[in-house]
Amino acid sequence: MDDFYRDYILDHYRNPRNFGHLEAPTVTAEDLNPLCGDRIRMELLVDADGTVKDVRFSGKGCAISQASASMLTENVRGKSLEAVAKLTKEAVLENVGIGISPTRMKCAMLGLRVLKSAAIGSLAAWPDEE
């Protein structure tokens, strides 16, 4: 776990990319991890073709949830909503690097969960499915 807190993670935590709000988002989603209270909100601007034009996230949480959400937002511009809906756990883990303990996995996946639910329009039911 201590391997996890590398410079680029701390940088994303302290200087999150695409943090804030869109003026007129097309879709938004928000969720919280009831166990730790971490919250993330995702706002997407989607054009008529279903392509993501812009993205912002906001929320409060640990380095893992904030950095992984921040990194996620760097990868969605230009993607179709469908492609966003298909983003995987593995893609997130590739972004954030190794060494996340099982208890913290939900933190790492919170941003993905919210982003996908924005794309799909509903939240996944049973968390273990992710």
């Binding site: 919280l32 009831p34 166990l35 730790c36 303990s101 099982p102 208890t103 913290r104 039911a125 049973w126 273990d128």
Partner: protein, 416 residues
């Protein structure tokens, strides 16, 4: 007689896994445990799992970030998944409770208060355990609903003739899968579809079934299924309620507090998803883990084998007890091993069941005596008390023999 021999050998093998069955009683007798319908004995694997939790990774769950907390959380939720698989549901449909009784109360309070009103009827049977009767009496008192009962005849069989009339206007049918006094197996495959057709939900009290029969809640097509770990090789203090996901989602919370919430403000709260929404406060963590190991043990032996084994032992017992009729022994309930769980209720002449049980105890034979938490059934049948022997996977013909010999002793003492 190959099967007989095979299963015989297996019961002896199984017994080795249960440390209590190897200990002699205070009087130096072999422990002949014929009270598994009250609570079962526990195999080493279950006891060791509790031990390992407390010695190696005891920690509170869900919220802890450190290693042992992660291990505890994983073991706890993994146990849920295994118990869910054991009865054929998904983990999100399985709520931990203290026991079958609390599972039924959860439904009576949460679903009942929200869905039952004046003039509604709840249908039970005349053979229900107090745990599947009194919660509905209290619900009826709270809401103005009425209770109805599927009758039981003198042979101990449910009478289904008037079923559709009884179901008319019913919100819920609450019924034991297997009765605990006479062992009667409810013909759910004939009853549930008719309840469905009448628009009633179905709660099955599986306390005496989940330990002994293969149970698949989706095949049963019931809405709720309640059962207890301690009757199926698991620890005390843990049980479970299965409910269909959509019903669980719609049900308001029951017990509230830590762990079942989503957000809390001073004035209001929102709640976690099921099943956690119904699990307030620190759960019986060790208990749940032990329950998971218990169903693993049962699945390993095989519920099919267990059912066949119990049928055989019950058949032998019915035969041997029939031979005691000359001393005034009388067996109640259906006398067909196919129609009962491994449970036999009886009386010995004019000897009170408690006296029978006391004398049997001097021979190391443990049976139950009394009303078995089915007082209304006893009253209806005109019995003051019965003696009850119940069988499980670790019992064999030797146990039946010990029972018979001890009953002969009781008959001698009472000069029958």
């Amino acid at each position: 007689m190959t099967t007989l021999h095979l299963s015989e050998r297996s019961a002896v093998e199984i017994r080795k896994d249960f440390p209590i069955l190897a200990r002699p009683t205070v009087r130096g007798k072999r422990l002949v445990y014929l009270d598994s319908a009250a609570t079962s004995q526990k195999p080493n694997s279950v006891i060791d799992a509790l031990d390992a939790y407390y010695r190696e990774y005891n920690a509170n769950i869900h919220r802890g970030v450190y290693e042992i907390a992660a291990r505890a959380t994983e073991a706890f939720e993994n146990a849920r998944a295994r118990v869910a698989r054991f009865i054929g549901c998904s983990p999100g449909e399985l709520v931990w409770t203290r026991n079958a009784t609390e599972a039924i109360n959860l439904v009576a309070y949460s679903w009942g208060n929200a869905n039952v009103g004046p003039g509604d009827a709840i249908l039970l049977t005349e053979m229900e355990h107090h745990s599947n009767l009194v919660p509905w009496q209290l619900l009826a008192n709270r809401t103005g609903a009425t209770l109805r009962f599927i009758p039981i005849d003198e042979r101990g069989e449910l009478v289904l003739d008037g079923l559709d009339d009884l179901l008319d206007g019913c919100k819920l049918l609450a019924i034991a899968h297997v009765g605990n006094t006479l062992g009667t197996i409810a013909p759910l495959e004939r009853i549930v579809p008719r309840a469905r057709a009448a628009g009633a939900l179905v709660l099955v009290d599986g306390a005496q079934a989940a330990p002994h029969l293969p149970v698949d809640v989706s095949a049963l097509d019931c809405d709720f299924y309640a059962f207890s770990a301690h009757k199926m090789l698991g620890p005390t203090g843990i049980g479970a309620l299965y409910a269909k996901r959509a019903i669980l989602e719609a049900m308001p919370p029951f017990l509230s507090g830590g762990d079942m919430i989503r957000t809390v403000e001073y004035g209001r709260s929102t709640f976690n998803d099921p099943p956690w929404k119904f699990e307030a406060g620190t759960s019986n963590i060790a208990g749940a883990i032990g329950f998971g190991v218990a169903v693993d043990y049962l699945a390993d032996v095989g519920l099919g084998w267990i059912r066949e084994h119990e049928k055989r032992i019950t058949g032998v017992a019915l035969e041997r007890l029939a031979a005691l009729e000359r001393t005034g022994l009388h067996v109640y309930g259906p006398k067909d091993p196919d129609r009962i769980g491994g449970v036999i209720s009886f009386n010995l002449g004019d000897v009170h069941a408690h006296d029978v049980a006391s004398i049997l105890d001097t021979e190391g034979v443990c049976i139950r005596a009394g009303h078995h938490c089915t007082m209304p059934l006893m009253d209806k049948m005109g019995w003051h008390a019965t003696a009850r022997a119940s069988f499980y996977l670790y019992n064999d013909e030797d146990d039946v023999e010990a029972l018979v010999r001890a009953l002969e002793k009781a008959a001698r003492i009472f000069k029958l």
